[in-house]
C-alpha cells in the first residue's frame, strides 16, 4: 500500500509541477512546416523577400499622382461622373472632409509600407550575413519614404519605429508631433545614404542618390535650406545624374532608367488585375485612368479621363516652351492635326472636361499591358528625378540666402534642356522664378499641391483653399475612431 501512496504523491507532485512551471513551454507551439511572421528571417533570402514586400506599397503612388495634381490648381478630378472616385472630386473643390476613401487609402497604404519596413528592422539582429546592411538601409529608406508621405498629407501622425503593434497598443498611441516624425525621417535617410551605393545593379532599388535627394526634399519641406542645399549638392556633385536630353520623350517607357532617374516607382504591364484592389496591381493605375475616355484614334489608348489639366496650367506655359505640349495634351488640337481627324472619336466623362489630358502619364498605344490594360500600364512613376533635384537645390541655395549664383546655375540647367532663355534674377524674384519653374517642369507629376502649401502660395492659387485648414488633409475620421477616438483632428476639419 505504501508503494501506491508514494507513487500517487509523486504523480500529484509531478502533475502540479508540470502545470505551474513547465506550462509555458508545453503551450508554446509553432505552426508546423509553416513560415509565419514569428518564425521568419532565418536566412538571407527571407530578408530579401520581406524587403520586396516593403517596396510593394510604393506602387500606391498612383494616388499621389492624382491628389497632388487634383487638389492643386493644375487639374480637375474628371472621370465618369462626379461620384466616380468621389474623394478626388471633393479635393478638387477643396470640400474634402474626414470621410474620404482616397485619403484613407493614402493613410492605409503608407502605414502598411511603414509596417512592412518596420517588420524587417524589428528583426534586424536575427542573423548576420554580407549585404544585410544594404537590405536594412533600403528598408530604412522605404520607411522614410512612407512617413514623408504621411507627414506631408496629414501633419502629425503616430510614429511607430522598429516594431509591429497589437490592436490594443494602437489605442494607446497619440499623434506624434510633425517635428519628431521628420527627425525620424532625417535619421533614417541619413543612415540609408551612409550605406547605399550611388548605383545599383538592380533597376528599381533605392540608391544613395535616392536617399540624399529625398533627404534634401525633406529638409526643404521644413525650410532647412542650408541642410537641403548641401545634401542636394552632394547628389548633383556626385556626377551620377544628368538631365535627359529630350524632355518630350522623358516619360516614355523606352527612356526609363535614364541618367535623370533618381528614384522611380517601378511598374510592370505583365500582370493582370481588377478594379477591386488597385493596391494589388503591378501596373500603374494612374496611366490608364488618365487616358482619354473611349478614345479611338492614333498614338493614345482608351482610358477613364481622370486627372485632367486645367486651362490655368496650360496658360502658365510660354507657347514656345516644349514642355507645354509634353505636359498637357490639348486633345482637340491634337486630333485636328491628325491625317484622318474625322474618324477619331472620344467621349467626355460626366466628371468634368477641360479639353486637356495629362500628357506625361497617359496611356499610349505602344505601352499597354495585359488586359485590362487600364490597370496594367508599365509606365514608372518618377518619384524623384534630377530636374526636381536641381530645382530643389536652386531653391535651397537661394532661400538659404547665400548662393543665388549656384541657384541660377541649377535653374538654368533645367531651362537649357528645353531651350528656354536663361533667367538672371536674384533674391525673392529668383525664388518666385524657381517656384514657377517647378510648375512648368514638374506639373502632372503629383508635386504641385504640396509645393504650393510648402511655399505658402496655396491660398492664392487654389480656389477654396482656407489658410490654417487645407495645408494638411483631415485624418480620416474612421481612423481616429479605430485608434480609440483619442486623436485630435487637424484644425478646422
Amino acid at each position: 500500500m505504501k508503494k501506491f501512496k508514494s507513487l500517487f504523491i509523486l504523480s500529484i507532485a509531478g502533475a502540479t509541477l508540470m502545470t505551474f512551471f513547465a506550462c509555458n513551454k508545453f503551450l508554446d507551439l509553432d505552426p508546423l512546416y509553416t513560415q509565419d511572421a514569428e518564425n521568419f528571417f532565418e536566412n538571407e533570402s527571407d530578408y530579401e523577400r520581406a524587403l520586396t514586400g516593403a517596396y510593394d506599397l510604393l506602387q500606391g503612388s498612383f494616388m499621389n499622382l492624382w491628389i497632388g495634381e487634383i487638389a492643386s490648381d493644375n487639374a480637375i478630378a474628371g472621370g465618369e461622373s462626379v461620384t466616380d472616385t468621389e474623394g478626388l472630386h471633393a479635393m478638387e473643390t477643396m470640400t474634402h472632409n474626414a470621410v474620404n476613401i482616397e485619403l484613407r487609402s493614402v493613410f492605409r497604404w503608407n502605414y502598411a509600407g511603414v509596417t512592412r519596413s518596420n517588420y524587417i528592422l524589428e528583426y534586424k539582429d536575427n542573423l548576420d550575413f554580407d549585404g544585410k546592411d544594404r537590405i536594412l538601409a533600403e528598408a530604412t529608406f522605404l520607411r522614410a519614404f512612407y512617413y514623408f508621405q504621411l507627414v506631408k498629407y496629414f501633419g502629425d501622425v503616430p510614429l511607430v519605429v522598429d516594431q509591429r503593434l497589437g490592436v490594443d497598443e494602437v489605442t494607446k498611441l497619440d499623434r506624434t508631433p510633425k517635428a519628431e516624425v521628420y527627425a525620424q525621417i532625417e535619421a533614417d535617410l541619413t543612415y540609408a545614404a551612409g550605406i547605399l551605393e550611388w548605383t545599383t545593379p538592380v533597376k528599381g532599388r533605392a540608391t544613395k542618390g535616392a536617399a540624399l535627394a529625398l533627404l534634401g526634399k525633406v529638409y526643404l519641406y521644413q525650410d532647412k535650406f542650408a541642410a537641403a542645399a548641401s545634401t542636394l549638392d552632394e547628389v548633383i556633385n556626385s556626377g551620377n545624374y544628368a538631365l535627359f536630353n529630350d524632355f518630350t520623350k522623358l516619360f516614355s517607357v523606352a527612356n526609363e532608367n535614364s541618367s535623370e532617374t533618381v528614384f522611380d516607382v517601378q511598374y510592370s504591364g505583365l500582370e493582370g488585375g481588377g478594379y477591386g484592389c488597385l493596391i494589388c496591381l503591378e501596373g500603374n493605375a494612374a496611366v490608364g485612368f488618365q487616358g482619354i475616355r473611349q478614345y479611338n484614334g492614333p498614338v493614345y489608348g482608351d482610358g477613364n479621363s481622370y486627372n485632367l489639366p486645367t486651362q490655368d496650367l496650360y496658360d502658365a506655359f510660354d507657347a514656345s516652351d516644349i514642355r507645354r505640349d509634353a505636359t498637357v495634351l490639348d486633345l482637340d488640337a491634337f486630333i485636328a492635326a491628325q491625317p484622318n481627324s474625322g474618324s477619331i472619336t472620344y467621349a467626355i466623362g460626366g466628371g468634368g472636361h477641360t479639353g486637356y489630358y495629362n500628357n506625361k502619364y497617359i496611356k499610349r498605344q505602344g505601352e499597354i499591358g495585359l488586359p485590362d490594360n487600364d490597370l496594367t500600364s508599365p509606365v514608372n512613376y518618377k518619384a524623384i528625378r534630377y530636374a526636381d533635384v536641381l530645382l530643389m537645390a536652386a531653391e535651397a541655395h537661394n532661400r538659404a540666402g547665400s548662393g543665388d549664383a549656384t541657384a541660377l546655375g541649377y535653374l538654368n540647367q533645367v531651362r537649357d534642356r528645353v531651350s528656354m532663355p536663361n533667367i538672371n534674377s536674384s533674391g525673392t524674384q529668383l525664388t518666385e522664378d524657381i517656384w514657377n519653374e517647378r510648375r512648368l517642369e514638374l506639373s502632372g507629376e503629383g508635386l504641385r499641391f504640396f509645393d504650393l502649401v510648402r511655399t505658402g502660395k496655396a491660398a492664392s492659387e487654389i480656389d477654396g483653399f482656407v489658410t490654417g485648414k487645407h495645408e494638411v488633409f483631415p485624418i480620416p475620421q474612421v481612423e481616429i475612431d479605430l485608434a480609440g477616438g483619442n486623436w485630435s483632428q487637424n484644425n478646422n476639419y
Binding site: Q35, W109, L165
Partner: protein
C-alpha cells in the same frame, strides 16, 4: 502518536477476536407489484461487504454477526431501504419506487452528484430512450428529449451530421458543445461513430456549472456514459435487430410537362420572346423526383453481454448498422461496425481500474448535396419535358440551363467514399486513499484514421456544363498545356486522401467527501488536465486512370506521363490545453447547498498575452421541502437553484493570434515581377477566447408524487466574439493581400425559459402510462458588433445573388434581410398612382415596401431592406408518450418547433428551370391574384430576395411511433430466455407544416449564418421498421 496507533490496533484486534463471527442472510427482493428485481445492491451497512441480487431477485450475503447489523438494499429508481438484520436469516424485501428518482446519479464532470443535490441546470436522458428510437446518431435521437438543447439535422443523408445547440447560438463561429464519452473528448462531427446502443446515459450540463470544463464550456457540455456491468451478476446476453424500409416523407409539388410548357410559354411571351413549346399537350412528362427518390433499406444488428464477478464488471458489445439513401440508394450508403469493451476491476481493495475501449469502422458514400450542383437541386430544376434517356439511349442533357445536369447521370458518375477507423478509450486508476479521499488518474485517447477516395470518370453531361471533365460526348480527354506548345491529355482521375486525428488527455484529480457532525457535507475536487490534439493529412490526385473505370481507381494506376498532372497536398495541426480545476461543495442537511468551481485553462490557441484564463462559477440550491415548516402535501419535493459563472469558447483557428505571411509582397525589379513576402493577417497577441457569462434560475419539484417538474430561466451573454473587422491603418493591415487581425469584439445575448414535465402512473397498475413533455423558448439577439462594422454578411440568395442573412446588432443571429412585399401590382394605373416609385415595375410584379420613406424603392443599396424572418424558433416542444398494458407497450415521440422561417433557395431562377407548382396561381391579369407575381423571362425585380421567398418554417413531427409486445416470462423462461420483445415502429411518419420544401427541419450545414436557408436539403426519410430484442 505511535502510542495511540498501537492502542487502536490492540482494540481492533480484540474486537476482531470478540466479534469476528459471521451470519448468513438470504431472501428475495421484489417491487410492489411482486416482480422480482435483479441487480439490487445488498450491502452490509458501514462496510464494503456486499452482493447483488441474481436474475430471480435472490441474494445471499455473509455478514458479521453484529448487534447493529443493518442491510442496505439499493437500486436505481427505487428508494434505498435499510433493514435491521440482527438474528434474521431470511429477509424478503419489497422496494418502493423512489420519488422523482431523487437519488439518481447525475454526472457533473470529474465527479457525480444526485438529482436531489445538484445545484446546476442539468438534464439526463437514459440510453434506452435513445436506443428505442432506432436512430443511427445519438444527437438526432436526443432531439426533443431535453429542454434547452436544439438538435437540427444538417442532412438527411445516411451518415449526415446534425448541429447541436445548447441554449441558443452564442457566436457566428463554432457553436458545438463539448462532448465527452466516459470523459474522452468526442467531436460532434464524428458522432456518427458512436453506437447509440452503447450508451447508458447522457447528462447535459446547460448552465454555468459546465464551467468545470472552463474554456471549452461556453456552448454547454454533453457527458455520455457507456454501458457498464455490475458486480456479482451472471452474464446477461442481449441480441437485438431491426430492419426498415425508408422512403421520402414528402415530395415537392413540381410542374408536370404540360403545366411546365404552358407556364414557360407565358413567361417567354411576357419577356417578348418566342414561345418555346408549339404544343403544350405534353401530359405528365418526366417525374424526376420519382426517378431519383427511391425506397432504401436500413438495418441494424446488436449483440452485447454484461455482467460481473465480485471484483470485476464488464460490458462488451458489438453492432452492425447499414443504411442506404433515399437518394441514390447504395450511392449514399452508410455502414458502421462498432465494438466496445468496458471493464472495471478492483486491482486491490483500494485500487480500481476502469477501462473503456470503443472501436468504430464506418464507410460512407457521398453524393453531392445541399446546394447548386447537388443531385436534389438538379432533380428539382430538371425539365419535365426532357426524358431521362433520349431515344439513342444516352442520358438527356437538359441543355437549356447550363448548371443543371441530369441527376440520374450524375448519381451514376459519382464515386465518393470515405472510411473512418476510430479508436476511443480510456484507462483510469482510482485509488481510495481513505474514506474521504479518492485519487483518480486517467489517460484517454481518441484516434481516428480517415480515408477518402473520389473517382472522377470522364463524363459529358451536355454542351457547356460546368461538371463536364471530358472534351466532348465521345469522352475524349481535355488537353492541358504543360509547357510551351506541349500538351498532355487529362483523363479520368482519382483523389485519395488519408488523415489522422489524435486527441490525448491525461487527467489527475482528487475527490474529497466528508460529513461533519452529521449535517455538514463537504465535497471537493481538485485536479489537473493535460490535453493534446494533433492531426495530419496527405492527399493526392492521379490522372489518366485506365479504361475510365473505377476498377482501376487507385493512384498507382496513374498513366499520366512525367507526373505533370499529379498534385499532392498535406496539412497538419496541433493544439494543446493545460488546465487546473477545483470544485468545492458544501451542503447543510441536504437543505442548503453551495458549489464553487474555478478552472484555469492555458491554451496554445491564444496569444501570449492571454494564454491563460480563469473561469469561475458559483451555484447554490435550497431544498425547501426539507425545511420543517414546509408542509405542502401536494409537493413532495421542492428545490430552488441559482447559478452564475463564466466559461469560454476556444473553438477558433489555431494560431489566429499570430501574424501570417500571406500578404502580397510583389514588386518590379529589373522589369521582372518579383515575388517577395509580406505580412498578411496581422498579429493580435491579445487574442483570447469568446467568453460567456450565464445566469440560471431554476426549480425542481414533485407534485402529487407523480409529476416531476423542472423549470429554468437563463440569461446567457457571450462577449468577445471573434471578428476580423476594420482596424486602425497604423497596424499596417491594408497592403495588398494583407488582412486585419482577428480580434475580440461583438456580443450576443440568449435568454430563454425551459420547462420539463415527467409523469408516470404507479408501476403496479396494469395500465402504465408515462409521459415527458418539454418546452424551450429562446430569444436570441446580437448585442454589439465592432466599431465600424454594421453587420457581417451571411448566406447568399440565388446564384451570385444578394446577401440574405446577416449578423447585426439588435437582431437574431443570421436573421433574414431583404425586401418586404405588399402583394402584386394589378394594373399600370396602380403603378402610376403609387406614391412610391418602383423602377421597372409592370403589372403583375411584386410591390415592394418603401422602408426608409423616401418614396423610392432603392435597388442599388440596402436602404429599403428590412428584417423579413429569422431561422431561430421562438419555441420548441418535445413530447414522449409511453403506455404499457400487460405485455404490450406503445410509445410516441413528437417534436415541434415554431416561429422560425425558411428561405426557399432551391429554385434556379433561369427561364427553363422547372418550378414549384405554386406558379400555377401566378398573376395573369388584373385581379387574378395578389399573391404570386407574373412569370416572365424579361427583366424583373421579382427575383430579388424578398419575403416572397421566405416561408413559415414551423413544424410538428411525429418522430417515432412504436408498438411492442413482450412475450410473457412464463413462456420465454421455458426456452431459457429472460425476455423477448418484438416491435414495429415508424420514424418520421408525419410532419405537420406549411413549408413547401422537402423538409422543414433544416440544419445549418453552412454555419450559423446559413441557418434556415434551404438549398435543396437532403430530407430525412420516413422509415417503417420492425425489430426484435432478446435477452438471455
Amino acid at each position: 502518536m505511535l502510542k495511540t496507533t498501537l492502542i487502536s490496533l490492540c482494540i481492533s484486534l480484540i474486537s476482531w477476536g470478540l466479534y469476528a463471527q459471521t451470519t448468513t442472510v438470504s431472501g428475495v427482493v421484489s417491487d410492489e407489484n411482486g416482480m422480482t428485481i435483479p441487480g439490487v445492491n445488498v450491502v452490509e451497512k458501514g462496510t464494503t461487504n456486499g452482493t447483488t441480487t441474481d436474475m430471480d431477485g435472490k441474494y445471499t450475503i455473509s455478514a458479521s454477526k453484529s448487534e447493529n447489523l443493518i442491510l442496505s438494499f439499493s437500486f436505481l429508481g427505487f428508494e434505498t431501504s435499510e433493514i435491521a438484520a440482527v438474528g434474521r436469516s431470511n429477509i424478503n424485501v419489497v422496494m418502493k419506487p423512489s420519488v422523482a428518482a431523487l437519488d439518481e446519479v447525475v454526472v457533473v464532470g470529474y465527479g457525480t452528484s444526485t438529482k436531489k443535490e445538484v445545484t446546476g441546470a442539468t438534464a439526463k436522458v437514459q440510453g434506452e430512450s435513445l436506443q428505442k428510437l432506432n436512430i443511427p446518431r445519438m444527437d438526432q435521437a436526443l432531439q426533443g428529449q431535453v429542454s434547452g438543447v436544439a438538435i437540427n439535422t444538417n442532412s438527411g443523408s445516411p451518415g449526415g451530421s446534425s448541429s447541436i445547440r445548447i441554449r441558443g447560438l452564442s457566436t457566428f463561429g463554432d457553436n458545438d458543445p463539448l462532448i465527452l464519452v466516459d470523459g474522452v473528448v468526442y467531436d460532434s462531427e464524428g458522432l456518427n461513430s458512436l453506437n447509440p446502443n452503447d450508451i447508458a446515459s447522457i447528462n447535459v450540463l446547460k448552465d454555468a456549472t459546465a464551467g468545470i470544463y472552463g474554456v471549452r464550456a461556453a456552448n454547454g457540455v454533453i457527458l455520455i456514459e457507456t454501458k457498464k456491468g455490475s458486480t456479482n451478476s451472471a452474464p446477461q446476453f442481449e441480441v437485438s435487430s431491426y430492419y426498415g424500409i425508408q422512403n421520402a416523407a414528402n415530395k415537392l409539388g413540381l410542374l408536370n410537362a404540360q403545366e411546365y410548357a404552358v407556364i414557360k410559354n407565358e413567361a417567354f411571351a411576357n419577356g417578348n420572346d418566342d414561345a418555346p413549346f408549339a404544343n403544350t399537350a405534353l401530359g405528365e412528362g418526366t417525374n424526376w423526383q420519382d426517378s431519383v427518390l427511391q425506397s432504401a433499406a436500413v438495418m441494424n444488428f446488436n449483440v452485447g453481454v454484461t455482467g460481473g464477478s465480485k471484483n470485476t464488471t464488464y460490458s462488451i458489445g458489438g453492432s452492425y448498422f447499414s443504411q442506404d439513401g433515399i437518394v441514390g440508394g447504395p450511392k449514399s450508403n452508410f455502414t458502421r461496425f462498432n465494438g466496445r469493451v468496458n471493464l472495471n476491476t478492483d486491482l486491490s481493495e483500494k485500487l480500481k481500474l476502469s477501462s473503456v475501449f470503443l472501436y468504430t469502422n464506418e464507410e460512407r458514400n457521398i453524393l453531392p448535396e445541399n446546394g447548386i450542383g447537388s443531385v436534389l437541386y438538379n432533380t428539382i430544376n430538371a425539365f419535365p419535358t426532357d426524358p431521362i434517356r433520349t431515344s439513342d439511349g444516352n442520358y438527356s442533357y437538359l441543355e437549356e440551363v447550363s448548371d443543371i445536369i441530369n441527376p440520374i447521370a450524375q448519381m451514376e458518375n459519382t464515386h465518393n467514399t470515405a472510411w473512418v477507423n476510430k479508436f476511443v478509450g480510456k484507462e483510469e486508476l482510482a485509488y481510495q486513499i481513505n474514506d474521504d479521499f479518492t485519487f483518480t488518474n486517467r489517460f484517454s485517447y481518441n484516434w481516428a484514421l480517415v480515408d477518402a477516395k473520389v473517382f472522377s470518370p470522364l463524363v459529358w453531361y451536355g454542351p457547356g456544363k460546368a461538371q463536364n471533365n471530358a472534351l466532348n460526348a465521345n469522352l475524349d480527354p481535355n488537353l492541358v498545356e504543360i509547357a510551351d506548345s506541349t500538351f498532355l491529355e487529362r483523363g479520368a482521375s482519382v483523389y485519395e486522401g488519408r488523415s489522422t486525428y489524435v486527441d490525448v488527455t491525461f487527467e489527475s484529480f482528487v475527490n474529497y467527501k466528508h460529513v461533519f457532525n452529521k449535517d455538514h457535507t463537504v465535497k471537493s475536487t481538485l485536479g489537473v488536465s493535460v490535453f493534446d490534439r494533433h492531426g495530419e493529412g496527405l492527399g493526392a490526385t492521379a490522372y489518366n486512370i485506365p479504361n475510365n473505370s473505377i476498377e482501376y481507381a487507385d493512384i498507382s494506376a496513374n498513366l499520366a506521363s512525367g507526373g505533370f498532372l499529379n498534385n499532392a497536398s498535406s496539412f497538419q495541426y496541433q493544439e494543446r490545453l493545460l488546465s487546473t480545476f477545483m470544485r468545492a461543495e458544501y451542503g447543510f442537511k441536504s437543505k442548503y447547498l453551495v458549489s464553487a468551481i474555478l478552472r484555469r485553462d492555458g491554451s496554445s490557441k491564444f496569444g501570449p498575452n492571454n494564454r491563460y484564463g480563469w473561469f469561475p462559477t458559483l451555484s447554490t440550491a435550497w431544498v425547501a421541502s426539507e425545511e420543517d415548516f414546509f408542509n405542502v402535501n401536494a409537493i413532495e419535493f421542492l428545490k430552488v437553484r441559482a447559478s452564475y459563472g463564466i466559461s469560454g469558447n476556444d473553438q477558433i483557428a489555431n494560431f489566429a493570434y499570430r501574424a501570417l505571411l500571406d500578404g502580397e509582397g510583389v514588386y518590379v525589379f529589373d522589369d521582372i515581377i518579383t515575388t517577395g513576402v509580406a505580412l498578411g493577417r496581422s498579429a493580435n497577441p491579445d487574442l483570447k477566447w469568446e467568453s460567456t457569462r450565464q445566469f440560471n434560475l431554476g426549480t425542481d419539484f414533485t407534485l402529487f408524487k407523480k409529476f416531476d417538474i423542472t423549470a429554468n430561466y437563463f440569461i446567457k451573454n457571450t462577449f468577445d466574439l471573434l471578428f476580423q473587422p476594420d482596424v486602425s491603418a497604423v497596424l499596417g493591415s491594408y497592403g495588398a493581400g494583407s488582412t486585419p487581425p482577428v480580434i475580440n469584439a461583438g456580443d450576443v445575448s440568449n435568454k430563454g425559459f425551459e420547462f420539463e414535465l415527467a409523469y408516470s402512473t404507479d408501476r403496479n397498475k396494469k395500465l402504465v402510462f408515462n409521459t415527458n413533455f418539454n418546452v424551450t423558448t429562446l430569444s436570441n439577439k446580437v448585442v454589439r458588433t465592432p466599431d465600424g462594422v454594421d453587420f457581417l454578411p451571411g448566406a447568399g440568395f440565388g446564384v451570385g445573388g444578394n446577401i440574405a442573412t446577416r449578423f447585426e446588432a439588435g437582431y437574431p443571429i443570421g436573421y433574414f434581410h431583404g425586401y418586404e412585399t405588399a402583394g402584386v401590382f394589378q394594373t399600370q394605373a396602380e403603378i402610376d398612382a403609387s406614391p412610391v416609385t418602383q423602377a421597372g415595375a409592370k403589372p403583375g410584379d411584386l410591390i415592394f415596401v418603401d422602408q426608409n420613406g423616401d418614396n423610392v424603392i432603392n435597388f442599388s443599396d440596402d436602404s429599403d431592406k428590412t428584417m423579413i424572418g429569422s431561422p431561430i424558433p421562438a419555441a420548441t416542444f418535445g413530447l414522449t408518450l409511453g403506455l404499457s398494458y400487460k405485455g404490450f407497450d406503445f410509445s410516441a415521440n413528437v417534436f415541434a418547433a415554431v416561429g422560425q422561417e425558411i428561405i426557399r433557395n432551391f429554385e434556379r431562377q433561369q427561364p427553363y428551370a422547372n418550378q414549384l407548382n405554386y406558379v400555377i396561381n401566378r398573376w395573369t391579369g388584373p385581379e387574378s391574384t395578389n399573391e404570386d407575381p407574373r412569370v416572365t423571362t424579361g427583366a424583373t425585380r421579382n427575383t430579388v430576395f424578398s419575403d416572397y421567398y421566405v416561408e413559415n418554417g414551423s413544424f410538428m413531427r411525429l418522430k417515432n411511433i412504436q408498438l411492442g409486445y413482450t412475450i410473457p416470462k412464463s413462456v420465454v423462461s421455458k426456452i431459457k430466455f429472460s425476455s423477448i420483445r418484438v416491435y414495429v415502429a415508424a420514424n418520421n411518419l408525419y410532419t405537420l407544416t406549411q413549408y413547401q420544401g422537402f423538409d422543414p427541419e433544416i440544419g445549418s450545414a453552412g454555419g450559423a449564418l446559413a441557418s434556415g436557408v434551404d438549398y435543396g436539403f437532403y430530407p430525412q426519410a420516413r422509415t417503417i421498421m420492425g425489430g426484435i430484442s432478446v435477452k438471455f
